[in-house]
Symmetry: C2
Subunit: 352 residues, 2 copies
């Protein structure tokens, strides 16, 4: 039965007290090299593999774990390269802090509102809500109830939560101005979800007043800031290429075809681009297409998407930093990352 020997056994075997043995392992205190060696040797012969994390955790009051809450289905969450890159950066910064990353799905069963019981029971020192927390999110409520400090990414926060976000409003504005400068006036936009209800299609005025997800809301506002009133706001239920294609097909088959389409993500924009190709429309000759995120999408070759680039790696690291702050007791704050417009081959002057 491995793992059954305890620090007490080792201490006894080495002929020292338990606390001394503890020091031999943690190094957090003065200890004679010889004693230390003796303890380590005793540990070796007894097959002791170092302090049991559970004991340490209870004693220190820390689990050494950061809960990362993603959507209901990992499959859906991680079909998006944006999530993956973010998680990658996050994992490395969490590990740097010596913490573990507990992956938690928000709801128990996809589609249901049943909360994942882990949110209420799993040990975690901090939680990161990775995507689209709305203020009234039950996930947030459950975690707040437990008093778990929160880092929210691209959402809305309460007092005491840390928020990480990018300047997407400004980025969208810059993109909008780019299109205006190219002479475009009939501009449509394909958006990320407004809400969790899975709606797809053009949004009417009523719907436009219910944009609960911050990302979609801010990116829409950015276009308005540039002075653009989209001819159509086409809402999608997720950032997926095929949904972009569906949107593109519909928008580009209309009589009042837009001369430019701005998508709120690169995957959606890619779909729009594919739809344009499918319909035999020249890009950017007949229609310009732009996205958001700045993904590397080699399969769009020879096209390179005009896109607002966000620093995903840096974002992941910043989240890690926020986690560290929360653990240190440093006052949580909002950190905003800059974005930059990178012009590719998919936007050009308005057709005459």
């Amino acid at each position: 039965m491995p793992g059954r020997t305890t620090l007490a056994d080792v201490a006894a075997a080495a002929g020292v007290s338990v606390s001394t043995a503890s020091l031999a392992f943690s190094g957090a205190g003065p200890i004679a090299a010889t004693t230390r060696a003796r303890v380590l040797e005793a540990a070796g012969t007894l097959g002791y593999r170092g302090p049991n994390p559970l004991g340490r955790q209870l004693r220190s009051g820390r689990a050494g774990i950061v809960g990362v809450v993603v959507g209901d289905s990992l499959r859906r969450s991680f079909r998006d390269p944006v999530s993956i890159q973010l998680l990658d950066g996050l994992a490395s910064s969490i590990e740097t802090l010596g913490l573990g990353l507990l992956l938690v799905r928000g709801s128990d069963e996809p589609g249901t509102d049943a909360l994942n019981p882990l949110l209420a029971t799993a040990a975690m020192d901090v939680a990161v809500i990775l995507w689209g927390a709305t203020t009234d999110s039950p996930v947030l409520a459950a975690l707040r109830e437990r008093g778990v400090p929160l880092v929210v990414v691209e959402g809305r926060v309460g007092e005491g939560d840390a928020l990480i976000r990018i300047q997407d409003r400004k980025g969208m504005r810059t993109l909008g101005e780019h299109l205006l400068a190219l002479g475009h006036r009939r501009i449509a936009t394909v958006t990320l979800p407004f809400d969790r209800d899975g709606r797809q299609g053009p949004a009417d005025a009523a719907r436009l007043t219910h944009v609960r997800y911050e990302i979609a809301r801010r990116r829409l506002l950015g276009l308005r800031d540039a002075g653009i009133e989209p001819t159509v706001v086409y809402e999608t239920p997720a950032s997926l290429v095929e949904l972009g294609t569906a949107a593109g097909r519909e928008l580009l088959s209309r009589p009042d075809r837009p001369t430019a389409i701005v998508a709120q993500s690169d995957l959606l924009a890619s779909g729009v681009l594919l739809a344009a190709r499918e319909l035999g429309l020249a890009v950017p000759g007949e229609v310009s297409v732009a996205g958001f995120d700045g993904l590397d999408l080699p399969w769009l070759a020879p096209d390179v998407l005009t896109s607002v680039h966000q620093p995903l790696q840096a974002k992941g690291e910043l989240i890690g930093r926020a986690v560290g702050d929360l653990l240190d007791g440093t006052k949580p704050r909002t950190r905003t990352l800059d974005v930059s417009l990178v012009i590719g081959t998919t936007t050009g002057p308005v057709p005459v």
Copy 2:
């Protein structure tokens, strides 16, 4: 300071003993409904959010956590839809067991051999090695050292470890026979990595004796079982579309062009298919292409890849089952899942 009230406080407030209060929450024992209500009420007024998991964990000796070890970089691991789907199935079955999923990268820094320290220190009741454990893997060694029970997916195991795998050898054999029946004789194959050393290109005889990853080895053997001696064995360092394209370009530009190419994954096969299109070769008119995994790849339309389908969801669930067994003390065993050849539009009779 939330979370500071303990069960003892609640018990005191309710005028019962700590043990009774414990029963009120766990329900694991006889307790009068009225007492229970009293305890719960006291908890409510005190703002007690239920038992602290850390205390429970120490007492029960269980962390309630399954460590899932993936490659060094999440970004790389999760660019593969196969990993994602597997992880999704796994997450849901782990949650069903009431356990948390601790995501652990194998090495600390990509490329380095430096082990992630979490492997040695993080609390976990079981570990799942998600991909390609070789017998001498330092990851395995570290976990075994700690006495953490192991579930290995598609690798080689030691005594006492559970192993989950699919019948890929048989699947490949079936695929090989399909191609032979179509008249193909000049068949090349594009493989998954043999080792962690990142090699790319045709493998010579010496290299072929050093296939350390089980997946590549077994899938190669499957072809041999069908009686196929590949004209070229092209090794790739990862399952990525672009690597398949590179392989395809090279294989299809040769004077002794194969009439069929079998890739060990669908992503690689997709790349090969794109390369064929790029070179203006008709598929399957001039070259047949087949893969492995059975992914849904709509962007290959109108083509549908001929592929050996593996039940990824079921695999995830089976891993969950194995985790449960290990925790129950049930003797670990090897579980093998069946696969099935699904013929698409990319394989056809050998050109005359």
